[in-house]
Symmetry: C2
Subunit: 149 residues, 2 copies
DNA sequence: ATGGGTGCAAATGCTTTGCAAGTAC
DNA sequence: GTACTTGCAAAGCATTTGCACCCAT
């Protein structure tokens, strides 16, 4: 397990203890699976992925644990304007933001250091301590612009 | 009708004609209702609002028309981590982004011209035509940092 | 042993869709 | 007249929940 994963696990354990909740194998497995995600994943895909690995956790537990990880500050939930959520790890990953096509629902990731820097400056101005953020730009992707006429 | 509303109506009509779609009273009514929204609204509240005014449109038409307005670039769809969508007009409104406190849920608005400029540049790089965006920074506000142990 | 956690399946609730009737063009 | 739109109700689908059993502490 990577150093980052161990650190994340400590955050989870601390949160559980603080809230009189149990440390279970399911919670550890799901945490590690989420941390391994490079971009984002739907709850159902995560469920399927675990099943393909032979891990038997219920869909309900996947949903319940994802909520838990969000409360811990280890994951974030995005909807991209669709009617199902996407989840992604916050911890130990490069942060990226999203361009979302209103037509084909394609999601393009981007990262811009200067925006992050300005953001931090804005937070400083408001004496606001940033923990995570979502930055989504909706519009029409290259492919859909061509089909548009 | 305001000048902005007329302009929005032209955008809708142009889109409809271009796509061989009909200009119907339902579509105009819903457009105007959406343009009147100051912040954001749920589809079902919009439906209820119309009914209270004595306008008889079906829930299906409300949903279908909201999708249409999004495709026109006149409205945007957000879900703030909840499992139902919120809609808001894009047209003729001042744009602002949000700092959201995870503890007291206070919302601080900000606007930064430089971020907008960089965003446009990023879109250009991806040949992506931006229509709207949401930029939310989650964290701890000034007041809650003081109370934080 | 105790009370929180899990799996299952049913329920929930927002949203979409099939179809017949209506209407813009 | 044609074919796009609407309303209605049913269906769809992601997510949540009730409950009996399980297990971390």
């Amino acid at each position: 397990m990577s150093k980052a994963n161990k650190e994340a696990l400590q955050i989870l354990k601390k949160y559980l203890k603080k809230n009189n909740m149990r440390y279970t194998p399911e919670r550890e497995i799901i945490l590690n699976e989420v941390l391994a995600i490079k971009s984002h994943i739907e709850a159902d895909s995560l469920f399927a992925k675990l099943h393909n690995k032979g891990v038997r956790v219920s869909r309900a537990t996947v949903y319940r644990t994802l909520d838990l990880l969000i409360k811990c500050g280890l994951a974030e939930k995005n909807s991209f304007g669709q009617n199902h959520a996407h989840y992604e790890p916050i911890f130990g990953q490069d942060h990226h933001d999203h361009l979302i096509c209103n037509f084909c629902e394609k999601v393009i990731e981007f990262h811009n250091e200067e925006i992050e820097r300005i953001q931090n400056q804005i937070c400083k101005n408001f004496d606001f301590k940033p923990l995570s953020h979502t930055h989504q730009i909706f519009g029409v992707c290259s492919d859909c612009q061509k089909e548009d006429n």
